[in-house]
């Protein structure tokens, strides 16, 4: 699987490269600034990009902007955004094109190597991976989706974090069948017509973020 990395801190850039190569990813380019990023993404068209929000020269949100620009040019292009902090605002912007293949994680999640690599694979496959911290921040503020039961809310939270039905089942100590029942309830309550489209999960998350 081909990857482009954008990270300005050498230590982290090299660490990420080494880590990904240890898990059989091919790092086709590792850029250290904003202006080089978009051309690299459009030039290589990698299977997934791992991008730091804050990049030189402005040290603002250049990485995020490049990620969104790349997805405008290549709809559904899988991007995993890393940052020292997470903002629901950014999550919403990343999801605003309503396509899958989006991840948004705290940098420190990299330390849990297995989970991180899983997240990269999930995003590359068109799924989502949202940091528990973003989800927690959203949950802390209000009861956005009052129509959902607490249990359905739990399930939606796990969907937002990007877990599969099987993973959710094992976390909540229930069977996969029960999980899919919950998920169907959630989709119905959020007014999303039944379809097998993976996009529905993304849309549910978006609704969750937008509430």
């Amino acid at each position: 699987m081909r990857v482009v990395i954008a990270e300005d801190l050498t230590l982290l850039r090299d660490g990420l490269t080494r880590l990904l190569e240890a898990f059989d990813f091919e790092v086709v380019e590792a850029v250290d600034n904003g202006p080089d990023l978009l051309p690299a993404l459009l030039g290589h068209r990698p299977d997934v990009a791992i991008i730091d929000v804050r990049l030189p020269p402005t040290q603002t949100d250049e990485g995020l902007k490049a990620a969104i620009a790349a997805r405008t040019a290549m709809p559904g292009f899988p991007v995993l955004v890393l940052s020292q902090h997470v903002e629901p605002l950014y999550a919403r912007e990343l999801l605003s094109d309503r396509d899958g293949g989006i991840g948004y994680l705290l940098k420190e999640r990299v330390s849990d190597v297995e989970q991180f690599v899983q997240a990269v694979h999930r995003v590359a496959a068109g799924g989502t991976a949202f940091d528990p911290e973003v989800v927690a921040q959203l949950l802390a503020r209000r009861e956005p989706l009052a129509v959902l039961t607490p249990r359905e809310h739990d399930v939606l939270k796990h969907i937002a974090e990007g877990r599969s039905n099987a993973a959710i089942a094992s976390r909540l100590f229930i069977t996969e069948k029960v999980v899919s029942k919950y998920i169907n309830n959630i989709f119905a309550k959020l007014g999303m017509p039944p379809s097998d489209d993976d996009n529905r999960r993304v849309l549910a998350v978006l609704k969750f973020l937008d509430a």
């Binding site: 804050r54 020292q84 902090h85 629901p88 605002l89 950014y90 921040q137 802390a140």
Partner: protein
């Protein structure tokens, strides 16, 4: 609404006119008293005390006039030098403080001409008002006592009941004229007083220096306190955790041959602790300078903040450029505190924030539809932020009538940097 406001201004000017003319009558005794105090001031013990009292009376009188000026829409600032230590009252230093302050002598210079102008203009207002009121109020007496009794307005004396009745419209007309004239006369009086009682250019500068000294001290204090807090947080939080990480890894190192599974457990523990240290650091950073503020500026940061509140909050903003970092940060934390108060106290169902930059002034307002009655003097949160805004010559005003809505308005004069690309 407009008529109501006009009526209120007129009536207030009439009342103030009466009040001001009575006060102006006091000017002469006040002046005489002060001169006596000045002459007697060399007398040991008693003299200095008497002079202190008479000076206080003069300043009290002048400040009343300044207050009346503010009521008439022309605020006059107090020009006095900052007093020396309270302990020095009655001493030589204190005497010199009064004598060398030009404002003292300007007050003196005003007392007599101020009395003449104040009484003169005040009497005109009082006379117009009183004559108007007589025309309206004495009508019943008029009709009761018969037709030829007295005169009013153009009928002098009145020759029949009909002319007596006409006192009513005449009185009303005079009252209306008085409502027009009184504010003008008040303005004239205040403008005259301002010639003497307002700070001179030098005094203005002195006041400005005093203001800057206070705000600078506040800013430095606030900064020092902030640094102490950061030091403490680092010391108790991330730093302590990193020590623990080091220890745990050291222990694991020793165990790795003898008991690999225990070493593995220790390593996992070390990783968990390092994550906790990062959480600490992230919270700390958010409190110093939120990353989203650095990345998105005030607009984006307030939007992100609004998104995380339990009260639905709308952000309407238009800033064509970025603000300087210190201003941005001060205003952001002020908005954050105001919104935190909305969440904590207002019971509001919705809130809003507006951000705009007009004519070199950043204006931010935070409002809610809650219960109101917010008291800026209660609690220190808003005050600390006001001090922080003061360092940029910014101001903060809170309007919160019972029943709401509460609106906190902040204004900071500042420049915008180059427009966003």
């Amino acid at each position: 609404m407009r008529i109501q406001a006009w009526l209120r201004t007129g009536v207030r000017a009439m009342v103030d006119g009466l009040f001001a003319s009575v006060l102006a009558l006091l000017n002469v005794p006040v002046l005489v008293l002060w001169l006596i105090g000045l002459v007697l001031s060399p007398v040991p013990v008693l003299g200095t005390d008497l002079f202190a009292v008479t000076t206080t009376v003069v300043r009290w009188r002048a400040n009343l006039e300044r207050w009346l000026g503010a009521r008439a829409g022309i605020p006059i600032r107090r020009p006095y030098l900052p007093p020396p230590d309270r302990a020095e009252q009655g001493t030589r230093t204190w005497f010199r403080w009064i004598i060398t302050d030009p404002a003292t002598w300007r007050d003196m210079a005003w007392l007599l001409p101020g009395a003449v102008v104040g009484v003169g203009l005040g009497l005109i207002i009082v006379a117009i008002t009183a004559y108007g009121l007589i025309g309206v109020g004495l009508l019943p007496l008029w009709l009761h006592l018969g037709d030829v009794w007295f005169g009013y307005g153009v009928y002098w004396p009145t020759s029949n009941n009909g002319e007596g009745w006409l006192a009513l419209p005449q009185g009303l007309a005079i009252l209306v004229a008085g409502l027009f004239v009184a504010p003008l006369l008040r303005t004239t009086d205040v403008l005259f007083a301002r010639l003497f009682l307002a700070p001179t250019k030098a005094a203005e500068l002195r006041l400005r220096v005093a203001h800057l000294t206070t705000t600078r001290a506040d800013a430095i204090d606030a900064q020092a306190a902030e640094l102490r807090r950061i030091e403490r947080d680092l010391h108790d939080g991330a730093q302590a955790r990193m020590v623990a990480v080091g220890m745990t890894i050291g222990l694991a190192e020793r165990l790795v041959r003898r008991d690999p599974s225990a070493a593995l457990k220790l390593l996992a523990e070390a990783r968990a602790t390092s994550t906790a240290a990062l959480v600490d650091l992230r919270h700390l950073v958010r409190g110093i300078h939120p990353p989203v503020l650095a990345e998105r500026g005030l607009e984006g940061a307030v939007q992100a903040l609004a998104l995380s509140l339990p009260v639905p909050t709308e952000v309407i903003s238009h800033l064509p450029g970025r603000l300087d970092t210190p201003v941005e940060s001060a205003v952001y934390f002020a908005v954050a505190e105001a919104l935190a108060n909305v969440v904590r106290h207002s019971h509001a169902r919705s809130a809003w924030v507006t951000i705009g930059h007009v004519a070199g002034v950043l204006r931010v307002a935070v409002g809610d539809d809650g219960v109101g009655c917010a008291d800026p003097d209660r609690g220190t949160g808003l005050h600390g932020l006001e001090r922080r805004l003061n360092a940029f010559d910014g101001t903060m005003a809170v309007s919160s009538p019972p029943g709401g809505p509460t609106i906190v308005t902040m204004e900071v004069p500042c420049a915008l940097s180059s427009p966003k690309t």
